[in-house]
Structure formats: structure tokens, C-alpha cells
Point group: C2
Chain length 137, copies 2
């Protein structure tokens, strides 16, 4: 295994986030303990984007403490993996509905996100990477 380290996402790293791969985001609970959620993921410029809904555990957690870690594994080769430590720099509701449909298209092949509930407010977490580790076989 090779590990390369950096302080920003390379094009190689980004291709993993662009691919149809699941990411895992770790956030901090109120008592400071870690929590993980598997999630769909996107990348835009140098930011990792995660679409969630207001009131979800990870959304409440990052409102309190914006420090997160994100890890992603190539579904075609689990020994190709990127893991990031960083911060949520923005929480954006504008465009979040269109964005969850984009994620639905990417992961489910469906134009409209099918799990939408009438009351939920979607929100995009924009994550800035401070430390990036890319492991390759």
C-alpha cells in the first residue's frame, strides 16, 4: 500500500468523489464522541458536498462543531481509498433540492429523489479538506 498526503484534493482524489462511490462522514456528538454516517457524495471545485436534511444528526452536529472527517473507497477496488480531515465551511439550502435530484440520478439512476418527505428541508454541507490521505494498492 502506498499513501500520499496533501493539504488539498487532487484530481485523482476528486475522481473518487465524482464516481458512484459511498462516502462515510464522521461528525462530533454533543459530548465530543464520534459518529459516522454512510452517505452519497459530490465534489464541486475543491469542496466535498454532502446533501442532508435539517435536523438530521450529522447536520445538528456540524452546526455545533464543524470539524469532520470523510472517507471514500473505490467500489471497483477497495484498496483505492481517500480519507480527509476538514471542516464544514458552508451550509447551503439554495439549490439543495435540485442537488439531491442530481445525487438520485447518480446513485439510483432516477431523475427525482424518491425518498423525499414533504416536510424535510434539504441542505448541502460544503466541506473543505485540510488533510488528505490517498491510499493506493
Amino acid at each position: 500500500m502506498n499513501v500520499t498526503q496533501g493539504t488539498k484534493l487532487t484530481e485523482d482524489d476528486k475522481s473518487l468523489f465524482k464516481g458512484k462511490n459511498f462516502a462515510f462522514i464522521a461528525t462530533l456528538m454533543k459530548d465530543g464522541s464520534p459518529q459516522i454516517t454512510p452517505t452519497w457524495v459530490d465534489v464541486e471545485g475543491d469542496s466535498i458536498l454532502i446533501n442532508t436534511a435539517e435536523g438530521r444528526v450529522k447536520e445538528k452536529n456540524v452546526k455545533r462543531d464543524k470539524r469532520v472527517a470523510v472517507s471514500i473507497v473505490d467500489s471497483a477496488n477497495p484498496y483505492n481509498m481517500v480519507t480527509v480531515r476538514g471542516k464544514v465551511t458552508e451550509q447551503v439550502t439554495k439549490g439543495a433540492d435540485a442537488h439531491i435530484d442530481k445525487m438520485s440520478k447518480k446513485y439510483l439512476g432516477m431523475d427525482k429523489y424518491p425518498y423525499r418527505t414533504p416536510t424535510e428541508k434539504r441542505v448541502i454541507l460544503k466541506i473543505h479538506a485540510d488533510k488528505v490521505f490517498h491510499m493506493t494498492p
Copy 2:
């Protein structure tokens, strides 16, 4: 998606950890920020076992703060996933060499772990689950 919650691992949860699936473990850095590592994983009784080496980031982190989160996804169906919050209750060096060979057999089909370095000291982290979430499609 269905979510079932509990305070201990069910047989269903354990089968995901027994399978040839990657787990993701979140630990806490010295400054309290979260860190994630993708890892091989095993289960024994009600404990999740992760085999690491002394001096690795996650091993140093759990020595300082034993709170962790672990998430695992069924490689055959990514919408079948278990995520756990818990604690490292023991760090065991006895049997850790034989155990990494067992993991090598499970994940690589090789009797002997091929990445062993002469100086590393293997250690098994035994993790007790406090909260368990099992999501199914």
C-alpha cells in the same frame, strides 16, 4: 430505507462484520477532531475486532480517548449498512499476529499477512457497541 436501533449487535449486524466487507472506524485526534480509517474487521462474541499496529494514528487515538464509531456496508448491497457508536474496551497484543493472518485469509485469500514489517507490533482493538443503527433498503 428502514432503520432499526438497538444497544447491542444482533446476529444480522454481526453477519455484516463477518462478511468480506470493509469497515470504517472514526477515532478522536488529540484536539478532539474526528479521523476515519477504512479497515478490515472481525467480530467475536459481542465485540467488533479491528487489528492495527502500535503507533498508528487510530491506535494512539484510542489510547487517549476510547470513544469510537464504526460503520460497515454490505459490499453486495450498499443500502444494507450498520453504524455503531461505542468504546474500545481492550487492546490485546496476545494472538494479534495469528489474527492478522486470519484477516489476510478472509480479505486477500492469503494464509500469511503479506504487508507485515519486521518492527511492527500488531494489536487487536476490542470494541463494545453502545448504540447500533442498522439501515436496510
